[in-house]
């Protein structure tokens, strides 16, 4: 699939796109060292703006507020969103209303959500503050977390959950195992993948071959990789050359 010329073309495309992505940000970072205040003329190298930043209590206060809001709302959103995603994926058959409600925070224009919550809080007599900001952020972030976790769960092998339950683990333990597995599945899966430990996003490019005898047939994914992946141990290789992996599906 990848010949010399094509490879060069790929590199060129990547180069162009990465330049597009990074030049504006680099320019901004570069300008932060500009002596002058205007972005239109370079008058010399200086750290003075960083010094001014550290002395500006308003900005530092705002930064502190932002951190508090970010940390708390992220934690809450991740917990709630993950639980929601797991629940939704276990249930598998979900009504359109449920799906819509889960997607809704991402498509409602922020201004509508903000005004709605402002009015709602006023109606309830709630005093505005960091807590209302946090609560409102969670609404929005929860939907994103749910979407991301669901995407990952779609490739999940539920037989592990079954196995765990069969072995006598409680629901809580099973959940913990499930979530932990999902993050570090390269450690648990085939020997082949152990040969090339993934450092960045472990689950991004490893495709665990699905043993269709125990795997959920509806989730059996065709075994698809690109060239360059280390060859599988013979015992793990799927017998037929065709990517179909459901010989046992009735």
């Amino acid at each position: 699939m990848v010949e010399r010329n094509t490879f060069r073309l790929m590199l060129l495309i990547l180069g162009v796109v990465f330049a597009f992505l990074y030049i504006p940000i680099s320019v901004l970072v570069g300008l932060s060292f500009n002596e002058g205040g205007l972005p239109t003329a370079w008058t010399g190298f200086s750290f003075k703006w960083y010094g001014a930043l550290l002395e500006d209590s308003d900005i530092l206060g705002a930064a502190a507020n932002t951190l508090v809001v970010a940390i708390i709302s992220t934690v809450l959103a991740t917990v709630l969103g993950t639980l929601l995603a797991v629940g939704v994926e276990i249930r598998r058959r979900n009504g359109t209303w449920l799906e819509t409600m889960i997607f809704a925070p991402m498509i409602i224009p922020d201004i509508v959500l903000a005004i709605a919550l402002l009015s709602f809080f006023s109606l309830l007599g709630v005093q505005m503050g960091l807590h209302t900001i946090i609560v409102s952020h969670v609404v929005f972030n929860l939907a994103f977390v749910c979407a991301v976790v669901r995407a990952r769960l779609k490739n999940f092998d539920w037989s592990i959950v079954e196995a765990s339950a069969d072995l006598g683990a409680s629901t809580a333990t099973t959940l913990r195992v499930v979530l932990r597995l999902d993050r570090t599945r390269w450690r648990v899966s085939t020997p082949s993948s152990r040969r090339t430990p993934k450092r960045f996003w472990p689950s991004m490019s490893v495709e665990r071959p699905v043993n269709s005898a125990t795997g959920d047939p509806r989730r059996a994914m065709p075994r698809a990789t690109l060239k360059g992946e280390p060859p599988l141990h013979p015992s793990k290789r799927i017998p037929s050359r065709s990517p179909s992996v459901t010989p046992n599906r009735s």
């Binding site: 205007l38 239109t40 003329a41 508090v68 940390i71 708390i72 934690v75 005004i115 402002l118 009015s119 006023s122 005093q127 505005m128 503050g129 960091l130 807590h131 946090i134």
Partner: protein, 348 residues
């Protein structure tokens, strides 16, 4: 520190923040534009009076009005709004009827400032700053403009280097004044002419800009802009070639006022705050910092001569300012104004 205890700590902190706020004494909440008071005004007030005033910001009149209407004035004690919006607050019953006995410094105001058309006798609002809207330009790049037409239909070398204010009332005012109409015009036919003139003006415009137009002048990106007099002073401070002029058709008189909200639960502190702002020294200090004129006779008397020389528009006397028409609330015609602005912005 383990992750668990850090997380617990943060949660605890947040809970404390969340629940402590109502438990403590309610601070005085003042809403104003950013940079529209002296930088130490709030601290000074807190130190002098022992109150706990807190400043929150609003970017536009409409923003704070929206919040006040939504919450029926709850959550704020003193707000700085332009005069048309003070009128609206009064009409909606959200503004406190002012007891002048609790604002002794109100005597510092110019006589003209106590008889302003929008609130004669200052029954619900106290003027804080006032001024005009005109043309701000780079004298080294363009000839001195004389008319609003120089902005709306600029010469070829200036085309594409002009900006206008983005806020509805002032955007329309430029054309209203150019055509000789009132800045509170409600006649639909006349407003159609205003709209058409502004749509034509759009083709030579660089941008609508409320806040960074003086920076554009300084950098040379723009050469002639519509500006409030005080904002133009910020540009003058950075580049001495920048000058301010009021076109021959005139300007509007805008007045920014302080309003105490009827729903406020800290009226004493609110009155004390308004009074402290009107103190001659405080108000003069404010004027010297924000570079706007203040309607406080005692304060303006103290402004230094060198400041008046650098910023000539600060020396304008009230008698001259009162020649211009003050912006008033236009009532039902506001919807017409909004629609016209939408039409202008949607036009190609």
């Amino acid at each position: 520190m383990s992750r668990l205890s850090l997380r617990t700590g943060v949660h605890a902190l947040a809970s404390v923040l969340a629940f402590a706020a109502p438990a403590l004494a309610e601070p005085l909440t003042v809403s104003n534009w950013d940079g529209y008071m002296a930088p130490d005004a709030i601290e000074k007030f807190n130190a002098d009076s022992g109150n706990e005033a807190e400043l929150v910001l609003h970017a536009t009149n409409e923003e704070i009005m929206g919040k006040l209407i939504a919450s029926k004035g709850v959550g704020y004690d003193v707000v700085f709004v332009s005069s048309p919006f003070a009128e609206v607050l009064n009409n909606l019953g959200l503004a406190e009827t002012l007891d002048h006995d609790r604002i002794p410094n109100i005597a510092n105001l110019y006589a003209e400032a106590t008889e302003l058309p929008h609130d004669p006798g200052n029954t619900f609002s106290v003027p804080y700053a006032w001024g005009t809207t005109g043309l701000c330009y780079r004298s080294d790049l363009v000839d001195a403009p004389t008319s609003w037409g120089d902005l709306l239909q600029p010469a070829e070398d200036v085309a594409g280097k002009t900006t206008m204010l983005a806020t509805d009332r002032w955007l329309l005012a430029a054309a209203q004044l150019d055509l000789g109409y009132s800045v509170n015009e409600t006649d639909p036919d006349k407003m159609k002419e205003v709209r058409d003139l502004l749509i034509k003006a759009k083709s030579t415009l660089l941008a609508y800009d409320d806040t960074t137009f003086y920076a554009k002048l300084v950098s040379g990106e723009a050469e002639l802009v519509q500006a409030w007099d005080g904002w133009c002073n910020y540009g003058i401070g950075e580049n001495a070639d920048i000058k301010y002029v009021i076109p021959e058709e005139g300007s509007d008189l805008w007045v920014d006022t302080m309003v105490i909200l009827k729903a406020s639960e800290n009226k004493d502190a609110a009155y004390a705050f308004v009074d402290s702002i009107l103190d001659a020294d405080n108000h003069r200090w404010a004027a010297e910092n924000i570079l706007y004129k203040v309607p406080n006779e005692a304060a303006m008397a103290g402004v230094g001569a060198d400041m008046l020389e650098t910023y000539p528009n600060m020396g304008m006397v009230p008698a001259d300012m009162l020649k211009f028409e003050q912006l008033r609330d236009v009532g039902p015609a506001q919807r017409q104004y909004s629609r016209i602005v939408s039409e202008i912005k949607a036009a190609n």
